[in-house]
C-alpha cells in the first residue's frame, strides 16, 4: 500500500497549506527535494513550531508564498541566507508566531474548535503584526483579564519523516506527539518512513502507544535516510560536511542555484 516519493509529492498541489515539523522531529527532506523538482508553487508553510533547512530550500527555490512559524533556524549553520533574502525582498509573506501558539492553533483544529485562548504574548510585537490573533476578555474573570485567542490552524496536508510504518497504513512516531497533533489537525497526512514492518503496529501495546492510525494517513512512502542531510532522531546524525557546503553555496542566489542543480534537480532517488 506504499507509494513512491514522486507519487507522494504529486498529492501536494499548488497552494497547499503544508504543515512540517521542526528539524528534531523528523523532516521529509527527500520528499522536499521531489517537491522542488515537481516545481510546486504558492505553498503556505506552517512550521511546527519552527522550521529549518526544509523551508530554507523551499523558499530559495521559489515554492513558498506564506511562511507561518515561530522561527526559521539552521541552528549552528545560521544565518539562513535564502530566507533572509526573501524577507528583505518581501518575496514571501510572513506570519510570525510563537511556538505554543502554533501548537495551540493546531490543537484547536484537532478539537474542531474555532480558537484556543492562550496566556502570555500580550505586549509582544508579534500581536501587532499577526493577521489572525485577537485579544479577548476571559469570560470567567470578574476583573479586566485580557487573553489572546489563537484561531485554529488547519493545514491541508502534514508532511514528515517517521521511523516505521506497517502494511495497514499505520505510522509509528513514538514520543514525537506534535506529529499526532499535526496529523489530526490536518485534512490529511503524507509520510515518508525508514522502513515498513511486517506486523501490525497496533498489535503490540508497546508500539501502539506511539502510532498514528491509518485513518489519518493519506499516503506512505518508503524512503530510507529520508531526512538526509538533517539528523533523524531514530537514525543517522546530520551530515555536517554537506550542511557546511550548503552554508557556503547558499550565500548567493547563483550558488544556491548550483546547489539545487547538483543536489536536487540532477538526483532522483526514487
Amino acid at each position: 500500500m506504499t507509494i513512491s516519493v514522486q507519487e507522494l509529492v504529486n498529492l501536494i498541489p499548488y497552494g497547499t497549506k503544508l504543515a512540517i515539523p521542526a528539524d528534531y522531529a523528523g523532516v521529509a527532506m527527500e520528499a522536499t527535494r521531489a517537491l522542488i523538482r515537481k516545481g510546486v508553487r504558492n505553498l503556505h508553510i506552517v512550521g511546527v513550531p519552527t522550521s529549518g533547512l526544509q523551508s530554507e530550500l523551499l523558499i530559495g527555490a521559489g515554492c513558498v508564498s506564506i511562511f507561518e512559524s515561530s522561527a526559521l533556524t539552521l541552528g549552528e549553520y545560521n544565518p539562513a541566507y535564502r530566507f533572509s533574502d526573501a524577507v528583505k525582498n518581501k518575496s514571501i509573506d510572513l506570519v510570525d508566531a510563537t511556538c505554543p501558539a502554533i501548537h495551540a492553533g493546531l490543537q484547536a483544529s484537532q478539537k474542531g474548535i474555532p480558537y484556543m485562548p492562550l496566556r502570555g504574548i500580550l505586549g509582544s510585537d508579534l500581536l501587532k503584526h499577526h493577521p489572525n490573533w485577537k485579544i479577548i476578555q476571559n469570560p470567567f474573570s470578574q476583573g479586566d483579564d485580557p487573553i489572546v485567542a489563537i484561531p485554529a490552524i488547519q493545514p491541508d496536508i502534514s508532511l514528515f519523516h517517521a521511523p516505521l510504518g506497517d502494511k495497514q497504513g499505520n505510522v509509528w512516531v513514538g514520543r514525537r506527539r506534535e506529529l499526532v497533533t499535526m496529523a489530526q489537525a490536518s485534512k490529511t497526512t503524507l509520510v515518508t518512513v525508514e522502513n515498513i514492518v511486517d506486523t501490525n503496529l497496533l498489535d503490540d501495546e508497546k508500539t501502539a502507544a506511539g502510532v498514528i492510525p491509518s485513518l489519518y494517513i493519506g499516503g506512505v512512502s518508503v524512503c530510507p535516510k529520508g531526512s538526509w542531510p538533517l539528523d533523524f532522531w531514530q537514525g543517522d546524525t546530520e551530515d555536517t560536511e554537506h550542511l557546511n557546503l550548503y552554508k557556503q553555496k547558499s550565500r548567493t542566489k547563483e550558488g544556491f542555484q548550483d546547489y539545487l542543480n547538483e543536489f536536487v534537480f540532477s538526483r532522483e532517488h526514487s
Binding site: P79, R175, R177, L179
Partner: protein
C-alpha cells in the same frame, strides 16, 4: 582570564543561580546553561529535573513539542534561559531582527517560545555572552517578549537577571530596570558603562564576581564532563582538557 576559564566561571555562576529549583529546562543550543544545570544537579541534586530540549537522551518530556509550554503553564518549570539579538534596559528582548519589521536586516530566526515562556517561568535568566552596545540597547527594535507587564496581565514569571561575559545584572521588577550586581574579574565598571546601551542602577563599589569554587570545578571535570560530552560534543571538546 582565558576564554575557557571564563566559560567555566560562567557555568559555575549559573549553577549557583539554579540551586533551589526543582525543574530547569534548557534549549538545545545553550551549552553553557545546559552544562550549568547538569552541574547544579550533580552538586546539590537541585534542580532535581534537568531537561535539555532537542536532545533525545536528556529530555524526559514524552508528550510532544507542546509539553514544554504546557509544563511551564502548569508552573512545573522553575528556571529557563533566554537570549536575544537585542536586550534593552527594561528587559525586553528581540529575537526577530534589526530594523523595521517585517523587512528586518538582518532577520534573525524568530521569536520561538519566548513570547510565552517569559510570562510563565518564574526565573528566566537572560544570557548573552556578547556585552556590547549592539546587543544591550536602549530600546529593542522589535519586542519579541516584554520584560514587564501591566498589573492586569496574567504573568507568573519574567526576567530574574542578565548574565554576560562582563557582568551580572539583577532585574528589579518594580522599577523595570536592571541593577548591576557583579562585575566579572576581566571587566570593570568603566568597561561596562562603555559597552552597555541602556541605563542601569549601580553602586560605585559593585562587587567583583567571586572566582568559581574549586570543588565545583572539580565536580565539573570529574562527574559532569561525560554527560556534557553526550549532549554538547563540540562544546565539551572546548572546555574540558582530557578530551
Amino acid at each position: 582570564m582565558s576564554t575557557v576559564a571564563e566559560k567555566r566561571a560562567l557555568i559555575c555562576f549559573i549553577a549557583a543561580l539554579l540551586k533551589g529549583c526543582n525543574h530547569v529546562a534548557v534549549g538545545a543550543s545553550s551549552p553553557i546553561p545546559g552544562t550549568a544545570a547538569l552541574l547544579a544537579k550533580e552538586a546539590w541534586d537541585s534542580p532535581r529535573h534537568v531537561n535539555i530540549l532537542g536532545s533525545v537522551k536528556n529530555n524526559f518530556l514524552t508528550n510532544g513539542g507542546q509539553e514544554l509550554f504546557d509544563c511551564a503553564a502548569q508552573g512545573r518549570i522553575d528556571a529557563f534561559f533566554l537570549g536575544g539579538g537585542q536586550i534593552d534596559g527594561q528587559a525586553n528582548i528581540n529575537l526577530m531582527g534589526r530594523g523595521e519589521y517585517p523587512s528586518c536586516e538582518p532577520r534573525w530566526p524568530g521569536t520561538f517560545g519566548s513570547a510565552y515562556l517569559y510570562f510563565l517561568i518564574p526565573k528566566v535568566i537572560l544570557f548573552r555572552e556578547e556585552h556590547s552596545k549592539r546587543v544591550l540597547v536602549d530600546k529593542v527594535d522589535f519586542i519579541s517578549a516584554p520584560g514587564t507587564s501591566d498589573e492586569n496581565i496574567y504573568r507568573k514569571g519574567g526576567p530574574y537577571g542578565l548574565l554576560t561575559n562582563k557582568a551580572f545584572f539583577r532585574f528589579q521588577k518594580e522599577k523595570a530596570r536592571f541593577h548591576l550586581e557583579f562585575i566579572h574579574p576581566s571587566s570593570s565598571l568603566e568597561d561596562i558603562l562603555d559597552n552597555t546601551g541602556f541605563e542601569f542602577d549601580y553602586k560605585a563599589n559593585t562587587l567583583i564576581t567571586a572566582d568559581p569554587d574549586p570543588e565545583l570545578l572539580k565536580l565539573l571535570d570529574n562527574k559532569v564532563s561525560s554527560k556534557v560530552k553526550e549532549v554538547y560534543p563540540q562544546f565539551s571538546h572546548s572546555i574540558f582538557k582530557r578530551d
